[in-house]
């Protein structure tokens, strides 16, 4: 199915957010996630089923002022 990850459209076979993170190589990384503009806590990622058209945000710690 087609979803959007960090603003870019991509095809994925992952059925859950947890599986998508593994697919993208974020399995052991310190990241936070949101789907369709709503925060998804780490503990809820494996239970969150993705649907076509979902907008996924994956963020990491960065420099800020």
């Amino acid at each position: 199915m087609k979803i959007t990850v960090n603003g870019e459209t991509r095809e994925t076979a992952s059925e859950t957010l947890g599986a998508l993170l593994l697919e993208l190589g974020h399995g052991d990384a310190r990241v936070a996630t949101a789907v369709n503009e709503a925060f998804v806590p780490a503990a809820a990622r494996n239970g969150l089923r993705l649907a076509a058209g979902d907008r996924v945000e994956i963020v990491t710690p960065r420099q800020g002022g």
Binding site: A34, E57, I58, T60, R62
Partner: protein, 256 residues
């Protein structure tokens, strides 16, 4: 030293982590500044570079408290989601709340700010709102549950200093017991000293240090200015007067 939400921090200097020429310069600037708080952000990872993980290790090594921000958010909803992600990433309920209302001045949107603050306080966040020096906005943010206020000195990144001393003094006088931080717009240590002389508890800055020719030296300069301003405030400064008054006694002067 200032106390925010019951936590004493090591220094009245809160220092940003963006725009430094290198991670080594960032670390050295923090060391010489003695800053007790580092502001950080959350951003999308570009490609597979894992820059976020390297940055996390750098920040963890500084030994300072982190204050994540919601920089770049233009709505309350966006800011709330960003804050929730930041809380999980940085393992802190402190959040520097930015809701930008104008793209040119990066002026806070007071309405979105109050709306987001109310939601975040209800969710257990300890909110540090980046705000204008507006007295009524301050009142609303305190009513929403904020226990710290962060009025701007000038627009972010301008280095213009304290543009509205009257408004800032008025804010300080109306809420004498609320911890207040001047956030944004400072360019020189003398401006930070002036903020402390006015009675502010701390300053938050980034560009003035990161974009200086020698960031670490500038960081130390700010730290010393803050200490000078804090001492002056506590020393009960003399009132200014219009007419001259001799400091040397007149009595005993030789009659020539």
């Amino acid at each position: 030293m200032p106390v925010f939400y019951g936590t004493k921090v090591a220094s009245p200097l809160m220092l940003g982590t963006a725009q430094y020429p290198s991670p080594a310069v960032l670390a050295e600037s923090f060391r010489r500044s003695g800053a007790g708080v580092a502001t950080v952000s959350v951003r999308r990872e570009a490609g597979g570079e894992r820059a976020g993980q390297a940055f996390w290790r750098l920040i963890a090594g500084l030994g300072v408290r982190v204050l994540p921000n919601t920089a770049g958010c233009h709505s309350a909803r966006e800011a709330v989601t960003t804050a929730q992600m930041a809380r999980e990433l940085f393992e802190t309920d402190w959040i520097k709340l930015e809701v930008i209302g104008n793209a040119d001045t990066l002026q806070p949107d007071p309405f979105g700010l109050v709306e987001a603050a109310r939601i975040l306080v209800a969710e257990g966040f300890k909110v540090f709102p980046y705000m204008t020096e507006d007295l009524v906005l301050a009142d609303r943010l305190l009513a929403a549950g904020c226990e710290v206020l962060m009025p701007w000195g000038a627009p972010i990144g301008t280095g213009l200093g304290l543009l509205n001393p009257y408004g800032l003094r008025s804010l300080r006088a109306h809420f004498p017991d609320v911890p207040m931080v001047i956030d944004a717009g400072l360019g020189l240590p003398s401006q930070a000293a002036a903020a402390m002389e006015m009675g502010f508890d701390a300053v938050l800055l980034n560009t003035a240090v990161a974009k200086a020719g020698d960031p670490a030296a500038m960081a130390e300069g700010f730290a010393k200015a803050l200490e000078a301003g804090r001492l002056a405030r506590g020393a009960d400064p003399m009132p200014p007067r219009d007419m001259a008054a001799p400091s040397t006694p007149v009595i005993g002067k030789a009659f020539l």
